[in-house]
Symmetry: C3
Subunit: 467 residues, 3 copies
């Protein structure tokens, strides 16, 4: 059974303050403005397949930890690029997972999983080798029931709105299907993630640009048309509820190049002739172009920099992307963002949400930047830092310079559907613990704290993401 006071401060009076705050906001609806759930789930509303395929096979937090201790990815059913053999017996995968569950001690994944087991499936025993089959059977049985289908869970999770993330080349057919279905229980919107048509290093860049042209009826090999195609697709995404764009770049570099220079880089990129430096410059320039479009169409711009993707050549070749081998690297923002900020940083109606995997930037760079530029906001603790200690460090290092109101609430950023309530619950608890500590140490008045708690949980995210 989960500890009802988990993640609260240990000192009893401060814990009481935290619990009281939490009780005021724990049942507020979930607003999930950035994530990677599959819109097809909500469109088709088919049952989730089985416990292993729900909790293990797609969750890189889980399988990377087992991999780190010598468990083979193929034994966990992680698909191979060449279609070669991997474990297909879900119960076998589940048992292997259960035997190694102790490896997750002290990690947020452990907490998310236990929260899901208890809150979604009513399982309160300890998970492990002895209970593996019992858990498997129970979850499997549940998944067949109507109340465990995606839409039913969505409603039960009290999700007010969730954003998925799609490429400009996506036809948004699942979003169309959701829209046409007449489902009133949940709101699902898309977000514009143009990496495949913005990053010259992306697999198939030239073909992607061609497809981009087909979709928009424009000759996108021409730079002006290419920009226009973005405008066209952004407008299309807005029809499916999009309020934001998202950009995953290796660095935070931005550029604001003269048009001829940008067009020349684009031409080179189409021919596959960009150097690494040129590709980087083009990506950086496109962030500024995207920000200019955001000034016009109101889409919030999200920047997710600093992940060194696919660190192991062997795993990339065998299993492809997103297999836990993405490693954060040092990220600098001060000089990197200057061209973008000189172009649009003072725009009061623009919102740029910055994320980081480099916690050293919180107090040194990100809070000072967001604490002065009207266009900037700070995204929550991200990915490896989306955890109790990570969130605590975020508030401690960001708040004194950026305050609360330059932050944007919580993003779950997940493809693990059942973990959504768990993740939001962790964020709410850690925020209440932080606020309670401020109150207990005379930095915030007790009667102000509930207002801030509601802002951090619900109001700031709706305002920042215009939801």
């Amino acid at each position: 059974m989960l500890n009802k006071d988990r993640l609260f401060p240990t000192e009893p009076k401060t814990r009481d303050l935290a619990r009281a705050l939490y009780n005021e906001i724990s049942t507020l609806p979930i607003v999930s403005p950035h994530g990677h759930t599959d819109p097809r789930w909500y469109a088709e509303n088919e049952p989730f397949p089985d416990p292993a395929k729900l909790f293990v096979v797609p969750d890189h937090y889980v399988f990377r930890m087992l991999c780190s201790q010598g468990v083979k990815l193929t034994d966990l059913g992680v698909p191979r690029v060449d279609g070669g053999e991997t474990e297909t017996d879900s119960r076998k995968i589940w048992r292997l997972f259960a035997e190694n569950f102790y490896l997750l001690r002290g990690t947020p994944s452990r907490g998310w999983l236990e929260h899901s087991f208890e809150h979604v499936f009513g399982l309160t025993k300890r998970f492990g080798p002895e209970t593996a089959d019992e858990f498997y059977d129970h979850i499997d049985e549940c998944l067949q029931k109507p109340e465990f289908r995606p839409r039913a869970l969505f409603e039960r999770f009290n999700i007010e709105v969730i954003a998925t993330t799609e490429s400009p080349l996506d036809d948004l057919k699942w979003h169309a299907m959701i829209k046409d279905s007449g489902w009133t229980g949940g709101k699902v919107v898309t977000a514009y993630r143009p990496d495949p048509v913005v990053d010259p290093d992306f697999e198939g860049f030239a073909e992607n640009i061609e497809k981009f042209g087909e979709l928009t009826g424009l000759d996108t090999t021409n730079y002006d048309n290419y920009l226009e195609a973005h405008r066209v697709r952004r407008a299309f995404f807005k029809k499916f509820g999009a309020t934001s764009t998202d950009h995953g770049h290796p660095t935070a570099r931005t550029e604001d190049l003269p048009k001829a220079e940008a067009a020349a880089l684009f031409a080179k990129a189409l021919k596959g002739e960009c150097t690494a430096e040129e590709a980087d410059a083009f990506r950086g320039h496109m962030l500024t172009e995207m920000a200019r479009m955001s000034v016009d169409d109101g889409l919030v711009l999200q920047i997710h920099p600093g992940s060194t993707r696919n660190h192991s050549a062997e795993v990339m070749a065998r299993h492809g992307r997103d297999k836990g081998f993405d490693i954060p690297s040092q990220t600098n923002y001060v000089e990197a963002l200057r061209p973008l900020l000189n172009a649009v940083g003072m725009e009061p109606d623009l919102t740029i949400v910055l994320f980081t995997l480099d916690e050293t930037a919180y107090s040194r760079e990100l809070a000072p930047l967001a604490g002065v530029y009207p266009a900037l906001r700070l995204g929550p603790a991200w990915w490896f830092h989306d955890s109790p200690e990570g969130m605590r460090r975020y508030r401690e290092m960001v708040t004194e310079t950026a305050g609360f109101y330059n932050t944007v609430g919580f993003n779950d950023d997940t493809r693990a559907f059942c973990s959504i309530p768990a993740r939001h619950d962790v964020a709410r608890r850690v925020d209440c613990a932080f606020l309670a500590t401020l109150v207990a140490t005379g930095r915030l008045d007790e009667d102000e704290a509930p207002e801030v708690a509601r802002d951090l949980t619900y109001n700031l995210v709706k305002r920042a993401y215009r939801l």
Copy 2:
């Protein structure tokens, strides 16, 4: 009303320890060895103009936060470079400030302001839109009274000595006026800040050097004379109490160049022909020269590196320097300080005080350096980190390697006069909280802690700055 136990640990016994320590040092005089108050205040002793001009218009901590949420700097009365229109109605500025006061929740500015309202002006209600006019009227009325003039406040604040910061080109007339006035209630000293005649990138560098020559009667276009002119002005500053010099450089780079090379860079700098790299090398070399002069004349050398100044070109053009758009950047000390330390680092009578805006350097570089070189001391948590969490991190990351006795007590570093007692109070509370935690966890004996608390509050700063 301020919480009497603010910033102390929450656990009751540790809180008791912290409170007992604090009670022993809370009324010690303030020694303020580094700051930016205006000596004219103490010289003329005229009333401060009005609440907005006292608390809002000059405080970049405050107006940058409002700017970050879309409030225009001109609406806050921040002057324009071109003399163009800005808000002049102080009550209107004050009300705008009050409406946005909630943005400061969780920031040290909130604490400093509330401390000033309560301790300086006796205002114990909550500040905000409803009380804005009441606060304005009361503060405005106070400011007319003799007991709120600069010297009276100085004495009431229990300031034993304060240092201001002046350029070598300053005639120190306000300091002369203070000296001649016969005021016995307070000691105001200057500090030598030679950036305008040391940094080839400083606006008007060549003209500054010319003026430097006029002031000293030396042909300062000659490098030897230029160095001599520094000696002359340092001696002049010492007559007005200076015990330190201060250097604000973009990086911590030092050099110890052969004389001919340094002279050649200086000649280039005079012609405005230095590359960025050469300007950097010259600045770095001058730190070593300044340190050599310090060995001779005993002035403490302070290095404040790592601020990327005037990040927004637009704001710099419209409003000029010091408008909240200075952003910390990554700062390395290990290789950067080597030339300086190889030259003078083992001098037992030299004191170099190092500051940082990059907290990652605390445990990695600064504490190890200060924990071995006799000439080095660590300045307190600075600027963005001059806050409860920032100070706590400083003690936690510095003490285990550098100890307490390689630190130099607290610097308020402020131009906000009324915040001085508040800032020192925060430092004293955080230090007592830290010491209480060491006692409660068996790392320091209970009867030693009061001695350390007095050292951190009063003795170390007097010794380090030779005051």
Copy 3:
């Protein structure tokens, strides 16, 4: 008297949890897989000379702190390279140490020393100028007794096994003498530290390689033979219990060069013609070669990067290496380790233990890397960070991504023999405090924590180091 609850959380219930955990593991044997004690002590089993030579002269943690406050190294008896005069009166050195003992307040050295005084010598008064002679006399008297000889202390300290560190050029005669002595009370093993024959910048590199050839009967000027010589010496070290190799490099750079390229660099290195870049590349390549040999012979590979050695040219010239003037520098692992990891990172039977002096790498780079690569494990908080706050930060920043099971327990890494129980005790207390906090905040079940505590104290180190 030491506080029995030192380093535990202050909140009473969490403190109770920590104490209960500690009581279960506090008497487990010490396993010390990486350190720098002198095997000669255990071989000859002669008395330690006197208190100053035991606690002050060889301990760079202690004398660097006194040096930082102006005490001369020669007055502390630190030997000079030129054999020139240094203080030889141990009682005088001891008194100088006692007068300056207050400088160690807040540092781990203070705790280690007090623990040694109380636990090893039964001294419970406060050490300082007034008790200096009393302490000296008592310790000196003890050292003459049989129960204070190295082997007796070893047994009393409950050390199950300790590793020393030797160069491939070492004949391991002390280890042979220990082996031949029939001592059954303690196990002392060596570790293979090949820096003198791997680092082209090492003093006397070419001569070292020549001696390496003599020892192995191979013409080690030939690259193939040079690699073979490593294999031969590794096998020899294994005979004396070695289970690990150790590599102290300025950076974490690795390379996996084509053989011809590596051989060419080696040839240049022998001629002393390597550029700094080439020397670095060769060192980096040799890490990968060493890892390949580890795949074959099972030795655990330890990488200790990031120390800028001998920062002061003056101190290096006067006193030589290891005099407290080694300063950590920023260390990046992500790109640096890629060649090594692409070569052997997925090997399930290889163990590479990574250390850092740059704490920013914990959550950003090291935990993500160790949290996915089967071959990687994280060494404990090292050197400057081997302290209560340093260890706490380590657990807080590493655990959520790497878990507990990608860490390897504690290394004391010391040449200060009497501090070994103290250091292990600190690690055990900090770990129990961390685990108690996880339990108190609902992140770990109370009945799981003792198992984890035993793993962190005893099982993980034995498993990782194959002891």
